[in-house]
Subunit: 257 residues, 2 copies
């Protein structure tokens, strides 16, 4: 394989049927072996509300108790995953949906219960390159939800960005791998109000300066630092761009050097 | 591959955690390449009730409208499928869950809307032997829910017994295949009240007589006729037995001759 593209989409694409349909069309046009990771969207929250399962938040993060784990497993690994796979199939892309438990492809461990017990929330350990390779060589596009497992019978709700990074690291063991985070903005913006202020390139060499001058701030800091770690560990590039720009040279590229 | 075993479990196993745990242990002990198909159980009905989605029945059969399709996709292809896969993984069996859309492995067509429009209910056309072979050769145990797709972006709720038969026919193109329907009784009973009255063997040659004398009746008639069709079309044997007897010579065997 010459190269692999790993693409992550979030709730902003999943919750919008028009955006999702456009994304599916673009993904089918993207050449070469590819892997999709999808986040959750608002459906799980709506379903929990409708079932009167209380949402427990601690420091802005949702606690995944057993009832909530069942909901996210149903919605993410079930409904959303299968709807995306069926839509990709209809568009001519041979997609196959996966949770981490499927083929033991994604192992995670439950997050330590101290200081905050997040419940059935996991941090991903690794993605199995062998099964990824078997699937890609069969012409299949793996489609991951962020539900992983611990190998002891427990499903775990993981962060989809972290799953995407682990998938890209697994893919990088097979072929040069580019990871694309589809984002609600056009890339990392120097000025949040100005779509033309995209920072085109971030490396370990210029990151400290960009952070110091406030061009990278807030929620972008962990995103960029994780991307820098991923390229350090073997992913060829990480791009942060708008889903609409999937097929274009656009957005912010994070590279090793 | 020397032979393949295809096993179907229904709601009576899925709804009972003790029975399901025992089944998982037995399945792991069953030697050779194997494939599991699971039905639904009562959870989808309970979830629909809780979400106040009206259950529409016509002539004893449930109508699958869009809201109901979403529920069964969540519960069957999501929660139940992933829970079974995670439990099998924990027991040392490399399971991988599939809906028909995944890898385009199971195509179905929507049932004709006349005389009764069942909604998003499908009849399965075929299961892809190539992908089955790839997975089995990789040491994987495919685990199917009965949610198939039509290749046009629609998921379809199918009958799990029919899916199991289609999977067995797909497997039979790879290696001699035995299909086991796990059942709530010990097999086909001459006397429904007497577990010792199992008919051990049914073939095209003795079926007419068994039916005429009333030994095969009611809901067993279509089951046996479908099994006879499956062995006629290339499945080596079909067994109807209790889930507890999975590892034993027991139950009713339907063979070609």
């Amino acid at each position: 394989m010459e190269q692999i593209t790993v693409i992550k989409i979030g709730g902003n694409v999943i919750d919008n049927p028009t955006a999702l349909a456009a994304f599916v069309r673009n993904l089918v046009s993207l050449e070469g072996p590819k892997i999709l990771i999808h986040g959750g969207g608002k459906l799980a929250t709506r379903l929990a509300e409708r079932m009167e399962i209380p949402v427990q938040m601690v420091e802005g993060r949702r606690i995944t108790d057993k009832a909530t784990l069942d909901i996210v497993t149903m919605v993410y690994a079930g409904l959303i995953n299968k709807q995306i796979v069926a839509a990709l199939q209809a568009a001519g892309c041979n997609a196959l949906g996966l949770s981490g438990a499927d083929g033991n492809i994604g192992r995670a461990h439950r997050r330590k219960p101290t200081p905050i017990d997040y419940g059935f929330v996991g941090d991903i350990d690794a993605v199995d390159s062998n099964l990824l390779k078997t699937l890609l060589e069969a012409g299949i596009t793996p489609v991951f939800s962020a539900i992983m497992h611990d190998g002891k019978g427990n499903l775990l709700n993981c962060n989809a960005d972290s799953v995407a990074t682990a998938v890209a690291l697994g893919a990088a063991a097979i072929a040069p791998t580019d990871l694309i985070f589809c984002f609600e903005k056009r890339g990392v913006l120097r000025d949040a109000e100005d779509d033309a202020s995209v920072i085109s390139r971030i490396t370990a060499a210029n990151y400290a300066a960009l952070k110091a001058e406030g061009a990278v701030k807030g929620g972008m800091i962990p995103k960029i630092e994780n991307a820098l770690k991923a390229v350090e560990q073997g992913v060829r590039s990480v791009r942060i761009k708008h889903a609409d720009d999937l097929l274009h040279e656009a957005g912010t590229t994070i590279e090793k050097e």
